[in-house]
Amino acid sequence: MQEIIISVGIDIGTSTTQLIFSRITIENLASSYTVPRISIVNKEVIYRSEIYFTPLKSLTEIDANEIERIVKQEYKNAGITPEMLKTGAVIITGETARKKNADEVLKKLSNLAGDFVVATAGPDLESVLSAKGAGSDKLSKEEKLTVANLDIGGGTTNIAVFKKGIIAATSCLDIGGRLIKIEDGKISYIYPKIKELAQSNQIHIEVGEKAEVDKLEQICTLMAEQLSMAINRSTRTNQHAGIYTNEGKPLPEELEIQGLTFSGGVADYVYHPADDDWFRYGDIGVLLGKAILKNDGIKKVQQFQAVETIRATVVGAGTHTTEVSGSTITYERERLPIKNMPVLKIPEEEEMDLEAVTASLIKQIPLFYTEGKLEQLVIALSGNFHTSFASVQELAEAILKGSQEIVKSEFPIVIAVENDIGKVLGNAIKVMLECRKDVVCIDGIHAGSGDYLDIGEPIANGRVVPVVTKTLIFNS
């Protein structure tokens, strides 16, 4: 028996704003004689919006009203209402996340778009989402290769590397198609780092001068070479370290990239280089695409067609953020959904020792105070060390002892375990609290410190809940 849920993805990026709807099919893969095993069996994009330039009021402010209008119009075009959506993600990526009213825009969207996830994506998350949208994870699994996706957007290039389907590393560089802009045949904007890069190679470029294809092509060649260095195909120069976004880290040097996919706006001009009309978008994107294609280092790596190019990030956000929990779990229907819960992770080495579990909780809970007050949080643990009935009881007791503060609060106790003990652990806690407290205990979910978790409304006849982990590592 299959069930279909509709998911939305909205990406407000540095240069473009996009929206997609996708259909996520879930199915019980277990026979009817065993405990159900409900999994996502198919993900399919069913609607792609127009690609809009991200509307800005000024250099520091997003035009929230225009975004609202775009989203409303696209929902109407697709024939989708917010009530039809079970899950999804809105992400503000790249440069746009740093605009002063980014939070306000997110709030507006979450009211408008449906009852689900809203997230501001850091560069790492964006790298992973775009690579998943481009299909690099699947490709690396099927071809058994180490595949890197280069998501080359307006402001940044996000790199995610997958080894046999598992994320191995991410990185983000200030290399993009809109770092030099051209208006009326003249250069109207140069990103400082790019100007430096050019200058150190004896190319002088100034705002206001005439846009020369030759000169800009040389700069694009330098930019492409930086990408080649980033994927360990050219020797890294001293200057290279400075090109990473927010002084971020490069990929590990020992990582050997065996396959490449390209996504982002520039990707289409890597796969299908243009011959003329170089400044058709008022930037150097088309030239950059050509330079990447011609780069010797990049040429050495086997290249694959990405499933999505300019839409990779939004498709990643709309289809690859949602997972489903294990099929035997504990929850209180009226408490769901719960959004944006910070994860309190009990480290595995502490989990083995019950006293350490209690101590860890007592120590960590105050770290999650907002303005001196407790907020809804989720306790995450592996559950690998307590599987017999008796030891699950002990674990439940240790957790309760450590989280008295949550017990006394108005918030339900929310626990996410990896191992399949969610239901028995939840029951144990409920019985210990004489059923006077709401308990949500789900399993099959990996969450780490620093992650945020959203638990949606139950699906598949109430057996599972959709879960969005806003993290680097998704289990698929």
């Binding site: 159900p36 017999s388 009935f389 006849n461």
Partner: protein, 297 residues
Amino acid sequence: MNENDLRKVIEQVLVEMNGAGKEISEDVVKETVLAASTATKVEEGFIPDVTEVDIRKQYLVEEPVNKEDYYELKQYAPCRLGIGKAGARYKTDPMLQFRAAHSAAQDAVFSDVDHEFIDKMGLLTVQTQCDNKDVYLTRPDLGRKLSEESAKSIAEKCKKNPTVQIYVSDGLSSAAVAANIADVLPGIMQGLKSYGIETGTPFFVKYGRVGVMDQVSEITGAEVTCVLIGERPGLITAESMSAYIAYKATIGMPEARRTVVSNIHRAGTIPAEAGAHIAEIIKLMLEKKASGTDLKL
């Protein structure tokens, strides 16, 4: 045997070998004794336990075309794949593992559940009309009926008309009962308690087939009856257990009215979690007043 005894034996053998009456020199005997007594050496250590091998991790094909891929494939299920061969036959290690698994399966069927264990779990023991394992295996019909005495005992000692009657039975694997009951049973009880559902007096049925639950249901008058029973053992595990659950079971009802949760063991569905799951199924059964194919899960 001490050195003197050994000496006598060897002397005798040598005498016999050399023909009766012949004189044996003292030296020959001494030499032979010395050689024999030094040749026997007790080694420290042990032969590795073949049942400790994780067959998902054992890959024995020599000169494989693609070992890595085959190994990854093996991770999906504990099957005897990629175990190599010696000529047309199994290698020694897989052969021993196979026989060990087969023996474990046989033992699971033919041995009885330890009485002490049943007492420790606080379960009253009753029996079907089978008197021993042979009758049990050859007469499935008798395994579906309680002995007269047992039927009486249940009627007298167990709570009447409980909402849920849970009991345990050996079925075809006593090993399954020993391995899982301590986790599954309390798991169910706790789950039911959290839903506020009351349960009857649990007990143990020796030599039981699934069908005996119908008679148990009629005697106790339970709304839902649930038996935890050992599954026919296989070569992967001999400890797998099933729960058969039915709403108002009656003797002669169609088999389709039973709901089953199978594959409960350490490497399948975690027993304690399975217990919690079974409790939820029971709750659903009580709500919908149906079971088996009539109940959509």
